[in-house]
């Protein structure tokens, strides 16, 4: 057990997978000599050489497609797209190729492709570099999407993704790279797409993922001091989603609050909400509520940027309102 930063945990996972399986290789912009813009691939080039740690030109669609073609021949590529915003240039490789080939070939070709990309809103990077595009990939059958929120999950989920024969997107959050946490390399990892209860609670269920999981936990601490016990479920995966864990929790608490960093309109929360009301409408004491980002390109101005996405206070308020409506307590 060691304390590692999120990027260090990912780096550790890369080292181990490269060492254990010579069919694993990584490529992307500045991953080799420079060591990766968030240091995730630091030290790999010296150890594994240029065929396995490859700097690419700025050609997202074709180097992601390179990963697709190499995976068809049995290699296990780990493609780093410098930020999720650039993945829009690689949508053809991801959506039309990686997600389709295993199926269109009648199951003949596995697709052991991992695509890592940082995303989310960081600190004043401007509208083009502050996007949460996970929902675009969720609507594509054939892709699997994981969203680690802790160094331990980053370590586990990246390793599991590399070992899978399906194409998996690992969405890393830019503000989590320098968060520290315990990483136990000897512990047995939970299944890749299983949700985890980060904080138990009897009054309401908060369903969330990625960095918002930490925001929700901070809000839960505030709520606890007011006597409201909020259970925080970190989904860890956006495709597939562990509905069973969500339904079990909501059936106990009878209240559901969704906290998401992406835009509210047609966001991830819309899917959570629609499916959960199908599963547990009669268990609910109040309508499912969403706390989401504004439907607005991210402003550069720091204060406005912060006001665009959910903060601890927004979650606390929404939880109070959800409980208050039910219990008839005045706000």
């Amino acid at each position: 057990m060691t304390d590692l930063l999120y990027w260090q945990a990912l780096n550790r996972a890369m080292h181990i997978e490269l060492a254990e399986d010579d069919s694993v290789f990584t490529l992307g912009e500045d991953v080799a000599l420079y060591g990766g813009t968030y240091r995730v691939t630091e030290g790999l080039l010296a150890k594994y050489g240029e065929w396995r740690v490859r700097d690419t030109p700025i050609s997202e669609n074709s180097f992601t497609g390179l990963g697709v073609g190499a995976a068809m021949l049995g290699l296990r590529p780990v493609v780093e797209i410098m930020t999720i915003n650039f993945a829009l240039l690689a949508m053809d490789a991801i959506v039309n190729m990686a997600a389709k080939i295993p199926f269109m070939s009648g199951g003949q070709f596995p697709m052991p492709l991992t695509i890592r990309m940082p995303g989310g809103i960081a600190r004043q990077l401007g509208a083009q570099h502050s996007q949460r595009l996970e929902v675009m990939f969720m609507n594509v059958p054939g892709l699997r999407i994981v969203v680690p929120s802790t160094p331990q999950d980053a370590y586990w989920q990246l390793r599991q993704a590399i070992r899978s024969d399906d194409p998996i997107l690992v969405l890393e959050h830019e503000l989590l790279y320098f968060q520290k946490g315990v990483v136990d390399e000897t512990a047995i990892a939970p299944p890749l797409h299983q949700a985890q209860i980060r904080r138990a609670g009897r009054d309401l269920t908060c369903i969330t993922y990625s960095r918002m999981s930490t925001v929700a936990q901070e809000a839960a601490a505030v709520l606890a001091s007011e006597g409201i016990e909020m259970e925080v479920i970190d989904l860890r995966s956006l495709s597939p989603i562990d509905w069973e864990s969500c339904v079990q929790s909501v059936s106990r608490t009878h209240h559901c609050l969704i906290v998401e960093e992406d835009c509210r309109f047609a966001g991830t929360g819309a899917e959570f909400c629609a499916t959960l009301q199908e599963f547990c409408f009669y268990q609910l004491d109040a309508p499912i509520q969403r706390v989401a980002a504004l439907d607005l390109p991210t402003p550069f101005n720091g204060a406005l940027e912060a006001a665009t996405i959910p903060a601890k206070e927004n979650v606390v308020q929404a939880a109070r309102k959800l409980m208050g409506l039910n219990q008839g307590v005045s706000q």
Binding site: F25, S59, N61, S62, G106, G107, P110, D165, L192
Partner: protein, 350 residues
């Protein structure tokens, strides 16, 4: 030229033509649905290139790929069944005409988004290069694909890392209905490869022997570690872009002129002493036919009777494939789910 090879190439060209005409008929009769892009006119390209390839090589193709698959050794039955969407199809009925895949024969698929064959070939070439294997990757594409970003991105990376890829441009001069002069500032496609330092040549894609020789040379260089090579093969499709395209944008005289240079007719001339006559060739006015005829006068490989036997054998094979396709069962939704979850069958997801 080796007599067996000549006859094998002739047989494949006849198979290719008969297969596509049978597919067109199946489409007209409503047996085949969806998009159907046919190859007649371009047979010399697929046959010449793929006869120069080794079984260990990988092939990446476009949505006009029935003939590449057929010449690569995938059975006419399983290709025809795929066109019919049947369970016995090479892609189990999940791919269709534009998505033929065969892992065993290293056929890495037909791709229906123009320009996708480049990155697939790039990845296959990367894998072969990393493993230092003696294999080559053959990447087919049309003249319309060379204006996609992936063309330039891929040529750059393939050259940068000296990957074992043979790029084969089937230049039929049209991207659907837009003629090459109207879609490309530089109409000699091979010259674009030179910009990336990739050795490139332009060959007559209507002359199967020229194609074969050029592909052999290029593949030899690929296998020698010289990095990617590039062939532009000028050719012509007799039919429209797909079965839903009447091809009315092309002048009749142009279609006729190319039909006169039919590569199948040319190959027959190569091996038949009797046909066509000197005056017929002169009337056709295409140098490659005269060249073929001159050669076939010098050494004959096949006589008229043998040619007729060959044609009838080929027709039986294709008729059988059509019957097989029609009689094959439809895939079920369980088959679709099985194809979808095939690669996660040993995993616990949640």
């Amino acid at each position: 030229m080796d007599s067996n090879l000549m006859q094998a190439m002739l047989r494949d060209m006849l198979r290719a033509r008969a297969f596509e005409e049978a597919a067109a008929q199946g489409y007209a009769q409503g047996q085949i649905a969806g998009f159907l892009h046919l190859y007649p006119g371009e047979e010399a390209v697929a046959v010449g290139v793929l006869h120069a390839a080794e079984p260990g090589d990988y092939v990446v193709s476009t949505y006009r790929e029935h003939v590449h698959a057929l010449v690569r050794g995938i059975s006419a039955r399983s290709i025809m069944a795929e066109l019919h969407g049947k369970k016995t199809g090479v892609s189990s009925g999940m791919g269709g005409s534009m998505h033929l895949f065969d892992r065993e024969r290293r056929f890495l698929g037909g791709y229906a988004i123009v320009g996708e064959t480049f990155p697939i070939a790039l990845g296959a070439g990367y894998a072969v290069g990393y493993r230092k294997l003696p294999e080559a990757v053959i990447c087919f594409f049309g003249d319309g694909a060379v204006n996609q970003g992936t063309f330039h991105e891929t040529l750059n990376m393939a050259a940068l890392w000296k990957l074992p890829i043979l790029f084969v441009c089937e230049n039929n001069h049209y991207q659907i209905g837009t003629e090459i002069h109207r879609h490309s500032a530089v109409v000699d496609v091979y010259r674009r490869a030179c910009a990336y330092g990739i050795p490139a040549e332009q060959e007559d894609g209507m002359d199967v022997l020229a194609v074969y020789a050029a592909a052999q040379r290029a593949l030899h260089r690929v296998r020698s570690g010289d990095g990617p090579q590039f062939l532009e093969l000028t050719t012509y499709r007799y039919r429209g872009h797909s079965m839903s395209d009447p091809g009315s944008y092309r002048p009749e005289a142009e279609v006729k002129a190319y039909e006169a240079a039919d590569p199948i007719a040319a190959a027959i001339h190569e091996v038949s002493l009797q046909y066509p006559s000197q005056s017929e060739l002169a009337a056709a006015g295409h140098d490659c036919i005269r060249q073929f005829f001159d050669r076939c006068c010098q050494d004959g490989h096949i006589d008229d009777a043998a040619l007729q036997r060959l044609q009838s054998e080929v027709q039986s094979e294709i008729d059988d494939a059509v019957q097989f396709a029609i009689q094959s069962p439809q895939p079920t939704m369980e088959d679709a789910q099985a194809a979808f979850t095939q690669n996660r069958r040993f995993e616990t997801l949640v």
